[in-house]
């Protein structure tokens, strides 16, 4: 399609240096314009012809200046390239930022870890009870590894491996706080599923009041709804009225005493 532009932008090539470039590019693009698969080649052909006919009709004030398709295409491609460049630059910047953050986290993780000897003790103590519940432990370990990959590491929380049962001292049970968060979030998701499937959209639910009032509606002598009064209506007004009454009573008592 022809891209019509107001006259102001179409300054003659000699006036500014910038405009020199698009002009040269235009010639380049015009050269291999046919090689590119233009979707609207039919429509594009027309403006080219028109342009050739009118040629340098720059002195006409009434009709807006018509750009050649090639020049407009060139400008569009220029825009595209600029955008692509900037996106690439942003991506690399982001990548670097992420890499730096990873490194920082790894550093912090290393710092936060308990000294190696204690960790060794915990792992060996856990292994003594591995025979019976080997399957479960493997799962637990797998889970923990997956969590590590997914979440990076929460540097604020201390990392202690879960102890199945320590032989010598049974006075404590070490737990990973991250497990608890995961468990909570899963439980929330499960509760949300039930809530949605029983009370969510698409279920045919009604309020308790309407349910109980159904019978009243069908009686030979129709009665009111089961919860006809809305006791929550105007609570603020009622409170204000109560306060005013109390104050008025006090004032009345004072004046009557006098």
């Amino acid at each position: 399609m022809v891209q019509l532009r107001p006259r102001a932008s179409r300054v003659p090539a000699s006036a500014t240096v910038d405009e020199g470039q698009p002009a040269s590019e235009e010639e380049e693009e015009a050269g291999h314009g046919l090689l590119l698969g233009q979707p609207s080649s039919g429509a594009a052909a027309e403006p080219l012809e028109e342009d050739d006919e009118e040629g340098g009709d720059e002195l006409d004030d009434e009709a807006p200046e018509e750009l050649t398709f090639a020049s407009a295409q060139a400008e569009a491609r220029e825009e595209e390239r600029r955008v692509r460049e900037s996106v690439r630059r942003d991506k690399t910047l982001l990548k670097e930022k992420r890499k730096r953050r990873e490194e920082l986290f790894i550093e912090q993780k290393k710092r936060k870890l308990l000294p190696d000897n204690i960790l060794e003790k915990l792992t060996t103590a856990g292994q003594t009870n591995i025979k019976k519940s080997s399957g479960k432990l493997k799962e637990a370990n797998l889970q923990k590894e997956n969590e590590d990959c997914d979440k990076g590491s929460d540097s604020k929380k201390a990392k202690v491996q879960k102890v199945q049962s320590v032989g010598q001292n049974k006075s404590y049970l070490a737990l990973r706080l991250k497990d608890q968060d995961l468990r909570d979030s899963r439980q929330q998701a499960a509760k949300a599923f039930i809530q949605n499937s029983l009370y969510g959209p698409g279920t045919n639910r009604t309020t308790v009041n309407k349910f109980l009032s159904l019978e009243n509606k069908r009686l030979p002598v129709k009665k009111a709804a089961a919860q006809f009064l809305n006791n929550a209506w105007g609570t603020q007004k009622k409170q204000n009225a109560k306060r005013f009454k109390r104050r008025w009573m006090v004032r009345k008592m004072k004046t009557s005493k006098k």
Partner: protein, 695 residues
Amino acid sequence: ASTSGAEHASARARGAAVERDEPPAIGIRCVAYNNQSNRLAVSRTDGTVEIYNLSANYFQEKFFPGHESRATEALCWAKGQRLFSAGLNGEIIEYDLQALNIKYAVDAFGGPIWSMAVSPCGSQLLVGCEDGSVKLFQITPDKIQFERNFDRQKSRILSLSWHPSGTHIAAGSIDYISVFAVKSGSAVHKMLVDRQYMGVSKRKCIIWGVAFLSDGTIISVDSAGKVQFWDSATGTLVKNHLIANADVQSIAVSDQEDSFVVGTAEGTVFHFQLVSVTSNSSEKQWVRTKPFQHHTHDVRAVAHSPTALISGGTDTHLVIRPLMEKVEVKNYDAALRKITFPHRRLISCSKKRHLLLFQFAHHLELWRLGSTVATGKNGDTLPLSKDADHLLHLKTKGPENIICSCISPCGSWIAYSTTSRFFLYRLNYEHDNISLQRVSKMPAFLRSALQILFSEDSTKLFVASNQGSLHTIRLLEGSFKHLHTFQPQSGTVESMCLLAVSPDGNWLAASGTSAGVHVYNIKHLKLHCTVPAYNFPVTALAIAPNTNNLVIAHSDQQVFEYSIPDKQYTEWSRTIQKQGFHYLWLQRDTPITHISFHPKRPMHILLHDAYMFCIIDKSLPLPNDKTLLYNPLPPTNESDVIRRRTAHAFKISKIYKPLLFMDLLDERTLVAVERPLDDIIAQLPPPIKKKKFGT
């Protein structure tokens, strides 16, 4: 004449009028029936598990308090009376029915657990998890042990059922049912379920329940309202029944596999039976026989005992419907039972200061009763000159439910217990203000108390722990001193321990074991005597002032009076046992939860259950089966002679709506706490819409 309706200005403290954070009515989530012991385990949405003894007049004999994180989704019995539950916190919990605590909790590592089933041989446990895995556990004598995983499925496993031979299982998920072979753990068939009966629907079809029969038929119930019969050998649909417009949420099959029951979200329970096609053919088919509408909200759990259909759901009622064709003797036992109200006392009273302490799952409320100066005739409702006052709202710390609570008669002490802690508070009253002070460093052996009681003079505290021991604590100004612990006596734990103390402070009675009711001498700190064991659990216990007669009410509505000083049943008790109670008295279906006495009238015993309260006048003759039990007040123009002739010992009043608590405050005042059913219903979650013509 002190008839029940006269001479009291009842100050009604209506518990329903109070603002609360949590719903006061907790719905039922799962039920599990145990055939061997005829007991029913019921788990509620707050994690509480209750055990009902169906042979003891459907009495709730034990319970395990709930926990905030425990959202129980499945409950089942295993071999040897072992009870397991699993829920959304991902843990499998075993309950200890003797020690009345939780034995252990095992994490299944599959995320939230949605379903659980015990194998027919009773030694293996299967759980269906959120991540689509089905896990097999071995039940060892003291624990459970993970064995292996079955093939993992795409969506969460919401229902499980074993084939009676133990070789295959059916697992219901979302939009499909899988059949697994137990030995290999691999899925043999995957049957896709239509989302809607002969139609298209955007909502996913959730298979809420599956049942596997021995002939290879799988019955599934789903959220589209269908009951479908599948052939597990070929993995194809055999028959389709559309029974409701809403979800069908639960299914239970009888042991003989000739009948099953399903519960729907509309509150209807349907009974299906296997009947012959024609009267003398051997071919049988499943026919929907009876609908029952006893619930208003979703029926999320059903069970099938040999003689009855049991259902429970969001509307908190537990309904037991005996099946006429299975019941041998057609007497009152074959009537419908609807259990709505708690079988134990949740309200305690301080008579001196006219205070009531209400126990909820996570908080306590202290109310001061209103008073009136007006007078009137029998049956009038008098206006209050001073309204009931909400004095205290005490929230418990932590996720555990409160097990029991009590306020001392003088009103200065409040005690309550959860599974892991015991709390004792001292209250100070200055003019109209009340201040609370916690007594710190309570000993660890007091936690998990089943019953707490203060002595009449408020100097001693008695605590019955779940291990069977009884602790006596002396209360001093702001602190306490442990006096003595009565060790658990022999005999198995039958029900939750109930305590009663004599007004003169000498005797303490404790029930709950199979040995009978033990009576301890507090002054000499030793066991005084034991009331002979009775085969029904005790529902209420109290010791009369002056005479020191111990009055015991059992779940079969028998009431005994035992003289503690004489160590034998009283004359009156023997007389009424010989004559027997009135048949209408024995047919009452709610247990007596509280007994009290009049300080100036030793011949009177006051007791109440959920629907009536009664004053037994021991000086009047006992009614026999021919006399009218529920005697209305005789009209005043009748002569005295007739009035005396029709009067009998049991003066019953049913004027109050469901009673949670009733006691004598002083000589002329009774307090009654009602819980109208409408108030319970008003707080329930939304029910399914019912379209009725003309509305």
